[in-house]
Symmetry: C2
Subunit: 261 residues, 2 copies
């Protein structure tokens, strides 16, 4: 880091000092003068270079952190945020041919890129659905759902949490309500139960994580999440599952194919 050239402050500028400092460091990162994983100048070095108070350089560093450009490590320094490997999700990822090989979608996709997938925090319960879930599943007031929650990890790093809601009238006392849902996952079980799948819809939002989400996904500050809600329909046109997932946005690229007509 010793050879990084930072400009001086422009005292004639209206731009606040902390923003100028943030601009300098941001430019260094975007121009690759500082590369991912590399250490930024320490607070003391920046204080010395710019001749400002500590809070001023901390403010600048905080800007970069909230932009997702850096991560601070207590006792070590501030580093350009390394970019984790990205999983590309293709629009055919739920095609029957993949499922019939006996692997759930997450496992199949991930092994393809040489990373070690795993799943933890599996919980299963039966409850009254929220209004939103009931609407998506076309359920009425008395109906209940089986709720399967789990967390997906790659090489030990959490990347996604998912919660599935299946009408209890379909899933109760089946393997769908067991922690290990068997080869091919719950979509394979739904087909065995006579709900041949026809299509899925996915709704995608992006936003900053809630506190719990940031903790569950071990997200660095400044990293948004994808919030994806998928609904599975059988060939009778019935919604048979809603899956609510929150994904670390820097672990994923979503990919879809659209028809021209």
């Amino acid at each position: 880091m010793g050879d990084l050239k930072l400009p001086s402050l422009d005292p004639t500028s209206d731009r606040p000092v902390f923003k100028q400092i943030a601009d300098h460091l941001r430019a260094a990162i975007e121009s690759k003068a500082l590369t991912p994983g590399e250490k930024l100048p320490s607070e003391s070095q920046l204080i010395g270079h710019y001749e400002v108070a500590r809070m001023t350089v901390r403010h600048a560093l905080q800007i970069l952190q909230s932009e997702g450009l850096t991560v601070a490590q207590h006792g070590k320094g501030v580093f350009v945020r390394p970019r984790p490997p990205v999983r590309r999700l293709a629009s055919d990822r739920f095609a029957r041919q993949h499922r019939e090989q006996g692997k759930a979608a997450f496992i199949a996709e991930t092994e393809g890129v040489g990373a070690k997938p795993s799943v933890d925090s599996i919980t299963i319960k039966e409850e009254k659905p929220s209004q939103d879930i009931a609407l998506r599943l076309g359920l009425s007031d008395a109906d209940r759902v089986v709720v399967r929650a789990r967390r997906y990890l790659i090489d030990g790093h959490p990347v996604e949490t998912a919660t599935s809601y299946i009408p209890a009238s379909i899933a109760r006392n089946t393997r769908i309500a067991e922690p290990n849902s068997g080869p091919g996952g719950i979509y394979a079980r739904l087909e065995e139960l006579g709900h041949r799948l026809d299509h899925f819809t996915e709704e995608i939002r992006a936003r900053m994580p809630l506190r719990d989400e940031a903790r569950a996904l071990r997200l660095a500050p400044g990293v948004p999440v994808f919030h994806l809600v998928r609904t599975a329909y059988d060939q009778a046109g019935r919604a048979v599952e809603v899956c609510d997932t929150v994904m670390s946005s820097d672990a994923y690229v979503l990919s879809y194919e659209l028809p021209a007509q």
Copy 2:
């Protein structure tokens, strides 16, 4: 705001004071005790309530802002961030039937929900494509592209910037290279030129905006963007356009349909 009940600090907790204050305010927002548009207690009020230094309450408020929960207005106060109306983009939005009614996709979608769409900052140039764009379009080294950039607004609020790249061999000296590309937009022109469209692919990322993007979309702090790259293919299988768009994440919900096989 006068009737908001905030807990006291827990002096036995290890959790830093500024995080405890942020927790209290976040809980008030998430529980709807403070609703979108409503004013938070002022810094002086928080200083009085918690008996802490000003920088401590500012730190807490800054956390909420970086989470996208609040916006500060100089001289007025800090407010729960109002949620703008959301545009839902369906996966059939580029279907030929919509285009044939003579409207470009953005205009057609937006008028449907009673908002006033507009487009500005249209620029057109011809240039050598970046490596990424050349790869997506299947171009070789000597080829050039026509670049159409524009910004989309709803009721005067910018929501999306888009940049289209079309091989110059297709678009040069056509209406695609004119500011007004005519009824149905550039996809209609491409079809008239014999490139009957077959399908599109879209790649979606989410991230925090760059400085320029935050300015162009007038994004509040803590609001991420969708970065969407769409490629259009004609029935000969040729990529005829790449469109790179950056969208305010709180103005959009993206929606797709996936086949089960």
